[in-house]
Amino acid sequence: MARHHVRARVNGDPVEFLCDTDQTLLDVLRDELALTGTKEGCSTGDCGACSVTIDGRLTCSCLVLGVELEGKSIETVEGMAKGETLHPLQRKFLEHAALQCGYCTPGILIAARALLERNPDPSETEVRFWLAGNLCRCTGYHKIVDAVLDAARDMRRPANA
């Protein structure tokens, strides 16, 4: 079976890849583009570990096919830090000890960034419901929620506006 040639952007950079018709974006990122920061937890869209944004929209990359990405712009965890500077969410996750094993962390960071882009001042309840699609088995979510709220406070300060 012939593979498909796809041109897209990943974390701002132009990429080209070949993929099978049934190959998911998750497998394309991990196996074709060597971007293994996006994690596989279930491949059925239930755990959120593979969360990315496609043209700004939060998506489980296991539920999208590689061939659908022609001309699209994908953001993954590898694109969150700018050079040596961590994104405020990444910094706050470390400061709050909001990760234990760290496996769900890339997906949760992407999901949390998508929330703060839409709602820079979410309530605790809004954070909890927004992140309800991202499973974490280690933390009980307590410190994750705190880290997101703290990052939001940080990002609302004028210096970060």
Partner: protein, 759 residues
């Protein structure tokens, strides 16, 4: 009795603070590499064919068509693995029978559960590997199956092993059964104890099997050279035990297998034993290529873990004044398809929190056509605590006593005998109860449809074999290498203990997890043992390094080493006559070549002196009387951890344990259809708690130091988990006025209990 204790017997600069973990940045940038993130040139993808039947004899397996598919490089079955002797080896509580282990890695005579591995292939792509699996022809003779523990114990039940005679019964039964083992512990005289009782409370409970639910599926990468030397990148809770078990299963020499620890995406006991590792190694040997295997979530549910379901009866004999004078516990545990559930832990831990003069616990280990159970966070103890602490709750109600005061009156103290013969030796339990008594949650009033649950629990914690190497680099930085897998931030805590001991800043220390060829043996990161046992190895190693540094300072000053002391990261001349300026670790490191060469030490320990994990939990819930849905309003865990090395990660353990306990109590269960197929092998239908299900989790860290650890640590990961299920169950029971004795307390069950209070 002392108040809630926080250890302050010495001035500490680093232990007890909250630095950023040294392995943190790669984990927030996506660079950290987990089991599935490793690749090698020429790598193949391995896939495993699994049984569609819960119980079937394997008449034959024809792999020829799969083998012939272009792109397939190797096909294997159990015929490619040596068979093992049928014998139980190791201490009774953790005994292993490799005849079973090898059959769980790959089925031989029979498939014993849906998802049991039958054969495997390695191919140049995932797609070809999957296609090859469809070409393998297995001739099954489907057999009747048994899923439920009570059904499996009946004389007419289908037998998983036609020759299994129950161990632990004298004389041995004449007929085989699915009961692998019976065990019994006794203390005092329970007949006399119950005869002496004013009140008796007895109740029966059932729990469903639940999965550990780590988010990272099992994954590994293996390569085997033509001379038999092999390398394995494995996501596990202990690369040394994985090496031991895998080498044994494959008949390899241990020295021929080098295992590299990958970052691990959660384990909770579920990654203590190999599943995919021996398969990948055989496929690599046969193909001559590196082979990667990554399980799907469905495979994880069907073939790994879970924790056992159980059927239990608890009977308590009480005096009117609240003293417990007799206790009898019956624990029937599902082992899954092969013997050895944690029922022995259940028998030992259930009544361990209490000083009861007359106790009996009886356990049955029962096989059934489900995946072989694996450890899950204090294996066995949360299940027995659910039954015992529910009965304790009933007893407190019957006696009209406050549940905390009732427990405090009966607690085990140092000197209290345990049912397994030794005596408790540690304080710490009372302080967890007293901490809750003082907590504002305890006096928060409850509204309609709300209930409060209290529960306590005991876990052994663990010590054992650990190794640590300390390297002082030429610029005064320090490498701390251990063989303990880091599931949760233990590198940070181990590095903190090293920095504290050496007297250097935390960021001067770099803690790493070393592979099996680069450090001495280290046992599993399990049993809440890492901070205790590996911590002892790290601190011992640092103290040896300090001795070396003092000797070098003495040499530089040309004085006796007896006149050199180590303080705040400096060698000081003890006579303090101002003759010598203190020498920093860095200054001595700079002179290493002229003072004896590299400053390196490696220490291995078999750590004893373990301090137990006691915890007490308060949980408030609200039950929706129309839907039966339960909302957890408040959750407070008080745990004696001995000493919190990094309090943020201690809180994290307690909070994560709360979430898992709430899931176990309210939602999680393995659901089988009549054909013996798992009906909910995915995160959509096997529902673990999400952020919007949970409240904030309040933590009270109690510190009653363990004198056997240099900083007093006891362990944290499991003790806090033990009472969590019971606390939720007691809260729900109190909210609806009906004892909830069948887990999970899903909305339909709660609704039934509300609508039919006498059913």
């Amino acid at each position: 009795m002392p108040d809630t204790t926080h250890a302050q017997d010495r001035m500490l600069k680093i232990v007890g603070t909250r630095p950023i973990r040294p392995d943190g940045v790669p984990k927030v940038t996506g660079i950290a590499r987990y089991g599935a993130d490793f690749s090698l040139p020429g790598m193949l993808w391995g896939k495993i064919l699994r049984s569609p039947h819960p119980h079937a004899r394997i008449r034959s397996i024809d792999t020829s068509r799969a083998q012939a598919l272009p792109g397939v490089k190797a096909v294997m079955t159990a015929a490619d693995i040596p068979d093992q002797k049928h014998e139980y080896v190791g201490p009774e509580r953790t005994a292993v029978n490799f005849w079973h282990v090898t059959r769980n890695v790959m089925a031989r005579e029979k498939a014993l559960y849906e998802g049991h591995a039958i054969a495997a292939v390695a191919a140049v792509s995932k797609r070809i590997a999957e296609e090859a699996l469809r070409l393998i022809e297995v001739d099954y003779e489907v057999l009747p199956h048994v899923i439920d523990v009570e059904e499996a114990m009946k004389p007419a039940a289908p037998l998983l092993f036609e020759d299994m005679i129950t161990r632990g019964i004298e004389p041995p039964p004449a007929k085989p059964s699915n009961i692998s083992k019976r065990l019994e512990f006794k203390l005092g005289n329970i007949a006399a104890g119950f005869a002496d009782a004013d009140e008796i409370v007895e109740h029966t409970y059932r729990t469903a099997p639940v999965h550990q639910g780590y988010i990272e599926p099992q994954a590994c990468l293996a390569r085997v050279d033509a001379d038999g030397q092999a390398e394995l990148w494995a996501s596990s809770q202990g690369h040394f035990p994985i090496r031991t078990l895998t080498a044994k299963v494959l008949g390899m020499r241990v020295s021929d297998l080098r295992v590299y620890p990958t970052e691990i995406g959660g384990g909770f006991g579920g990654k203590n034993v190999p599943y995919v590792e021996p398969v990948a190694l055989v496929l690599s040997r046969k193909s001559g290529h590196p082979v990667k295997i990554v399980m799907s979530r469905e495979e994880v549910f069907k073939a790994c873990g879970p924790a056992p379901g159980a059927s239990m009866t608890i009977k308590l004999g009480l005096k009117k004044d609240g003293r417990i004078v007799a206790a009898d516990g019956l624990f029937k545990f599902q082992a899954g398809a092969f013997p050895t559930s944690p029922v022995m832990n259940a028998c030992m831990c259930g009544f361990a929190p209490y000083d009861i003069p007359n106790v009996r616990t009886t356990g049955y280990d029962v096989v059934c056509n489900r995946p072989k159970t694996a450890a899950y966070r204090a294996p066995g103890s949360p299940v027995s605590a659910y039954a015992v602490e529910s009965t304790m709750d009933m007893a407190a109600v019957k006696l009209g006593m406050d549940p905390l005061k009732f427990r405090l009156m009966n607690i085990a103290k140092p000197g209290t005998p345990t049912v397994w013969g030794t005596k408790h030796t540690h304080e710490g339990y009372a302080q967890t109860i007293q901490a809750l008594m003082k907590h504002p949650a305890c006096s928060t009033p409850l509204a309609k449809n709300q209930g409060r649950g209290i529960a306590s629990g005991y876990w052994f914690n663990n010590g054992g074999e650990s190794s640590a190497a300390i390297h002082v680099n030429e610029d005064g930085t320090v490498l701390v290498a251990t063989g303990s897998a880091d599931l949760s931030g233990t590198r940070a805590s181990l590095g903190m203990m090293a920095a504290e001991t050496l007297g250097v800043p935390f960021d001067q220390v770099r803690p790493i997890v070393a592979d099996t060829a680069s450090i001495g043996y280290g046992h599993l990161a399990a049993g809440s043992r890492t901070i205790f046992a590996t911590g002892i190895a790290v601190v011992d190693g640092c103290n040896k390094v300090i001795d070396d540094l003092k000797a070098r300072a003495a040499k530089m000053w040309n004085v006796s080493v007896d006149d050199v002391v180590w303080q705040d990261g400096h060698a000081m001349y003890a006579k303090s006559d101002g003759k010598f300026e203190p020498l920093s670790l860095k200054a001595i490191a700079a002179k290493r070549a002229t003072t004896g060469g590299p400053i390196v030490t490696e220490v291995s320990v078999n750590a004893g002196g373990v301090g137990p994990g006691f915890a007490t939990i308060l949980c408030d819930v609200e039950v929706d009387p129309e839907t039966g849905s339960v909302k957890v309003l408040r959750f407070v865990t008080a745990q004696d951890v001995g000493r919190a090395i990094h309090p943020a990660y201690v809180e994290g353990q307690m909070q994560g344990a709360a979430a898992q306990g709430i899931g176990w109590a309210l939602n999680e269960e393995y659901i089988y259809d009549d054909a013996g197929h798992l009906a909910n092998a995915g995160f959509l239908d096997y529902r673990i708690p999400v952020a919007s299900d949970l409240p904030r989790i309040d933590t009270v860290i109690v510190e009653v130091p363990n004198p056997s650890h240099p900083f007093g640590a006891k362990g944290v990961g499991e003790g806090c988990f033990v009472p969590s299920i019971a606390a939720v169950a007691n809260a729900v029971s109190n909210a609806i006025g009906r004892r909830m004795d069948d887990l999970p307390m899903s909305p339909p069950k709660v609704l039934r209990a509300i609508k039919n209070p006498n059913a």
